[in-house]
């Protein structure tokens, strides 16, 4: 069977059933049903749907921006986190940290000055680290 024969056959599909349809009766039934169930004013529905879609898009965009942009609160929190860690250290531990820090710096550029640190108390060492 070639394509033309296929098309000829397709044109006959449903032909007899369609011929049996009482078009006038169908039209009457359709009008009757339309009267019983009036056409809904779908424009109101569509407008609300659009508003809802817009709200969802805006909320999604705001959420995405918040995820992407680091807020100032986070860096503030990070500063506090380091400061809290320093508060937990004893004087000896603070001096050890600073000594090792100075050693790293001294190896590259700065001459040895760790002896000055021995004279600082814990409060001064903490302030020094926080300022640094």
């Amino acid at each position: 069977m070639n394509e033309d024969q296929l098309i000829q056959a397709a044109r006959q599909l449903g032909a007899r059933a369609a011929e049996r349809l009482d078009v006038q009766a169908t039209a009457r039934q359709v009008l009757q049903r339309l009267r019983e169930q009036p056409v809904r004013k779908s424009w109101i529905h569509e407008r609300w749907l659009r508003v809802a879609a817009l709200v969802v898009v805006l909320l999604g965009a705001a959420f995405a921006l918040r995820q992407l942009r680091p807020s100032s609160g986070e860096s503030h929190q990070a500063t506090h986190f380091i400061a809290d860690d320093l508060t937990d250290l004893s004087t000896d531990e603070l001096q050890m940290v600073l000594t090792s820090f100075d050693q790293i710096v001294a190896e590259s550029v700065v001459p040895d000055s760790t002896s000055d640190l021995q004279e600082l108390d814990a409060q001064q060492l903490r302030r020094l680290l926080q300022e640094g």
Binding site: A9, A17, R20, V39
Partner: protein, 181 residues
């Protein structure tokens, strides 16, 4: 008394009249397109016993959503696309039961009884094959082969492209040939 718009008013005029509340315009649209719609639905697998209800449902749905028809295609093409949705919903409601009645339109073929039998068998296979096609292939095939529409028109009604409609049609033809042969 004849209605003025029943003489030769285009569909667009009837649609405008219906939007203005003219019931007779709606009745005229039903009278113009009901048979073509019934052929499409029956060809796509609608049981004959349900055909009248499905045609009515399609028109009801079309009239209720007439605001969405903006002349992107002919009214009839748009109607047939809605008919496809109605038939799909009917299939869901009826539990996807496969009703494949022998289409009586293909029985009535004059000629030699032997040829008649062969032709009937081929047509029966085609009728059954069309119902087994994927939905989009089936609708494109019927809109093209049965209703004689152009690909551009089909594409506008089914929200696809003419190229995609052409591909669906050729897939459908190839599959139907395989079924018949």
């Amino acid at each position: 008394m004849a209605q003025p718009h029943q003489l030769a008013a285009p569909d667009t005029a009837l649609i405008a009249a219906w939007r203005d509340g003219d019931e007779q315009a709606a009745a005229e649209l039903v009278a113009r397109h009901a048979k073509a719609l019934a052929r499409f639905l029956a060809g796509a697998g609608a049981p004959e016993a349900e055909l009248d209800d499905l045609v009515q449902e399609t028109f009801i749905r079309a009239f209720r959503s007439m605001d969405r028809f903006r002349g992107q295609c002919q009214f009839r093409t748009w109607l047939l696309a809605i008919g496809g949705n109605v038939l799909k919903d009917f299939g869901r409601r009826s539990g996807r039961r496969k009703v494949m009645p022998l289409d009586e339109g293909v029985r009535d073929i004059a000629g030699d009884p032997h040829d008649h039998a062969e032709a009937s068998e081929a047509h029966r296979l085609i009728a059954a094959g069309v119902k087994r096609l994927p939905r989009l292939q089936r609708e494109v095939f019927l809109l093209r082969a049965q209703q004689g529409l152009e690909y551009e028109e089909i594409a506008a009604a089914l929200a696809t492209t003419p190229g995609a409609a052409r591909v669906h049609y050729h897939h459908a033809v190839r599959r139907l040939k395989e079924i018949v042969e």
